[in-house]
């Protein structure tokens, strides 16, 4: 149904958004308006606002029984050829991704928030899931996204005096020139 059709039937009533098939995603969408649900190859993904990153985590842990947050990572979309951003989501350069697992309910959900390049910070989840301490440090180290409230926001994989965030697309090149001893010079 295109926007034109909607315009034509203006005044009757607005079409309600289709119900979200995944019950956890539906609960998240109900608690946090503006959440967008996507079925990504059979996996439940919700796109939330950056401001509710921590609250979504607390909601999932306390009310939806998501016992573990398996992984927190981030993506740099600077040079994407084509980007699959769902409707209703404002794409930014970075995306922070958290994968949750509920053991008692045996289900997973992925939560994604957009992070702008000029204000690359998001709330920490370590107060809810202490096991994310290393993961958030890694995201900071390699991608430069700060986690507010993290107990130890230092570099973890790179030397402490390293400058830059190599996993960013504009930072380190993925291939360095190969050096040969006794190389006569550039060909």
């Amino acid at each position: 149904m295109t926007d034109d059709d909607l315009q034509a039937r203006e005044g009757i009533h607005e079409v309600a958004p289709p119900p979200i098939p995944d019950e956890v995603a539906a609960a998240v969408a109900e608690r946090f308006p503006g959440t967008v649900f996507v079925d990504s190859h059979g996996q439940a993904v919700v796109y939330v606002a950056r401001a509710s990153w921590h609250d979504v985590g607390a909601f999932l842990r306390d009310e939806q029984r998501f016992t573990q947050c398996m992984d927190v990572t981030a993506v740099d979309h600077l040079v994407d050829e084509a980007r699959a951003v769902p409707e209703g989501v404002e794409p930014e350069r970075f995306e922070v991704v958290a994968n949750y697992l509920s053991h008692p309910r045996n289900r997973r959900i992925r939560v994604i928030a957009q992070v702008p390049a000029d204000d690359a910070t998001v709330a920490t989840l370590t107060d809810l899931y202490p096991g994310l301490s290393f993961a958030e440090r890694e995201v900071f180290d390699l991608l430069g996204i700060g986690f507010e409230g993290h107990p130890d926001p230092t570099r973890i994989l790179l030397p402490d005096d390293w400058e830059g965030h190599p996993l960013r697309k504009d930072d380190a090149p993925a291939r360095v020139p190969v050096t040969f001893k006794g190389d006569p010079g550039p060909r």
Partner: protein, 180 residues
């Protein structure tokens, strides 16, 4: 090292032979297993391939007690100063084997994080190719080193090289003698 400065005659040649025999017969490696190659190095030390045949089964934890540093694995930028420190702590005569392609040249990891060959940090005597080199290839490298020590050739190569390492490469076909 001592051997070059000794004046050559019949008696000192016998002494030199004795020294070379002592040096090559029980080369104790320092534990410097970093990544996948370390697993193959441990396999070489285990019963099936048995480095103990050449007196090398004891991997010394302290570099002061070791003769040989087998750099087994990829060296990251963070590890490079540690590598140099361990190498410096070893006492002369000391040898270095770069085991695997990551140690020899950076291997498949041609990026910001890996030192593109440990010869940028320490002088390397034998390069052992492979990803990872099987225990037989590693033993080929070790035996090449022993042969070079026996013939004295390694000291000549070291003196002639820029980096101070002999820079021998073995080919990966096990059992084929390398051209020395």
């Amino acid at each position: 090292m001592g051997l070059e400065s000794v004046p050559h005659n019949f008696v000192t040649a016998r002494v030199e032979d004795l020294v070379k025999w002592a040096r090559r017969s029980s080369v104790w490696p320092a534990t410097f297993g970093l990544a996948c190659c370390a697993i193959e190095m441990m396999a070489a030390g285990a019963a099936h391939y048995d480095l103990s045949r050449w007196g090398m089964e004891i991997f010394r934890a302290s570099p002061r007690q070791a003769d040989l540093m087998i750099v087994a694995g990829r060296v990251s930028q963070k590890m490079a100063p540690v590598l140099r420190q361990v190498y410096d702590q070893m006492v002369e005569p000391k040898w270095v084997i770069a085991m695997g392609v990551c140690a020899s040249s950076g291997g498949m990891f041609n990026n910001y994080a890996i030192v593109q060959g440990v010869d940028q940090i320490v002088p390397v005597d034998v390069y052992v190719p492979g990803c990872p080199p099987g225990p037989e290839t590693l033993m080929h490298g070790i035996l090449t080193l022993n042969q070079e020590i026996k013939s004295g050739h390694i000291l000549e190569r070291r003196a002639a090289s820029v980096s101070g390492g002999a820079g021998l490469t073995i080919d990966q076909r096990d059992g084929v003698p390398s051209a020395v």
